[in-house]
Amino acid sequence: MDYDQNFLNKYREIIFGLSIGFLITIADLFLDYMVVMQDLTFIQFVEHHFFNIWQLIEHFVYVSMGLFFSIIWWQKSNHYRQIRELKNELEEKKDFSDLLLDIMTHDLNNLNQNALTRAELLRHLLLDSKYEKGNVIRNFDDLRRTVKFSNILIKNIKILSQLEADMVETKNIKLSPLFESAKEKVQLVFPDIPINIKLKNDTEKLEVEGHPFIENVFMNLISNSCRYRKPGQKEVSIEIEVSKVKDSVQISFIDFGRGIEDELKEEIFNRFSIIKPGQHGSGLGLSISRRILEQFGGKIWVENHPDSPDDPSAGSIFKIFLTKSNTVITEG
């Protein structure tokens, strides 16, 4: 059906021209029929028109002229169509380069700001002879963490470029090791905050169709749980629940952090819209996560903690859904 529609759309000018040629021929036949029919029988009329070389040439000329002009028209339209497609492609590339520029000027600058102010604060603290060693160490750790965030941001930009250039091949990947390695990598960024991950199901043999980039999604979620933990929270606990819905997989990350207000629940994924005037988002991690998952036909969204569904401040549950068409589950 799609093919038929595409075909009709692609050659609409030729079809239109041919139809006009045929219509002129039919009109000619009809007029002849009305005028000549009084003197000829129907059989004679048919013989006159269809077994007469001059009449056939006349009909052929009508159809050919329709075809000729329609081909010229089609070529012209095709040319404009190609220009339009190229223009759209260029605009998409420009949007992408604007986005990269925006990430550089906004996100990286913000991280630089954090690092700079942290370094200045350290200097200020150290110049005070009565400085507290613990406070200085905490600030050094935060400075190191900021540089690591900057590094993660640069990696995210690289992933984004690869996704944009369609350089990502889908493969079967095991979920379990990805949870573990994501946690280990985030733990390096937050060495002073123990991260406890509790897998609520046995995911040892569970495979999905995707890409190791999915690890980056898990890292973003675990890292957010650490960054937005409740004030005074000394460790971060995350429960991961994997459920199979028909032939698809739903992965839930449940944390007990500060939670996300209802009006921000969709906004936090919308970083890609910031280059359009009037719309702003913050951070890149969750929007990259959504982009990565969408590449494999997946989805991500956030809800309140399942134990307190009406209280956004009680923590969050991030749900990832990998759709049936892109998911292969190998049962153990």
Binding site: N109, N110, T117, E120, L121, Y228, L264, I274, G281, S282
Partner: protein, 128 residues
């Protein structure tokens, strides 16, 4: 003489904490920290004591720094606002609001403090 009361509005959580810690160390009173323009406005409408100076970011969810500043200036046209943004393209729109102090991230704390002090002196000059 009392140090200025500061309100910080930025969606960068780490920076909010950092500015707050540093400015407190320098003796300023941190009146309120807002993560977005909406929070800042809600506070501003309810507070009995206005901040002397507001450090305002541009890009924030729910309500950006420009809209927030415009609404704050409608409530109190004498409010001193220092725009602290990573995006230099916003400068003409900020100036259109009548805000003269715009600094771009990354900014040295010395420059930030210098700007706060300029804002505070201009309040004192207005009072004379």
């Amino acid at each position: 003489m009392r140090k200025a009361r500061i309100m910080i509005v930025d969606d960068n959580y780490d920076l909010n904490q950092l500015f707050s810690e540093f400015l407190s160390l320098l003796g300023y009173e941190i009146l309120f920290i807002g993560k977005n323009g909406k929070e800042a406005l809600d506070f501003y409408k309810k507070t009995a004591v206005y901040p002397d100076v507001i450090l305002m970011d541009y890009r924030m969810p729910l309500k950006d720094g420009l809209i927030t500043s415009r609404e704050i200036l409608q409530l109190n046209s004498n409010q001193k606002i220092i725009f602290v943004s990573a995006d230099e393209r916003v400068k003409p729109e900020v100036e259109e609001l009548g805000i003269k102090q715009i600094i771009f991230k990354p900014v040295d704390i010395d420059l930030l403090v210098q700007n706060i002090e300029i804002a505070v002196s201009s309040i004192q000059a207005d009072l004379l």
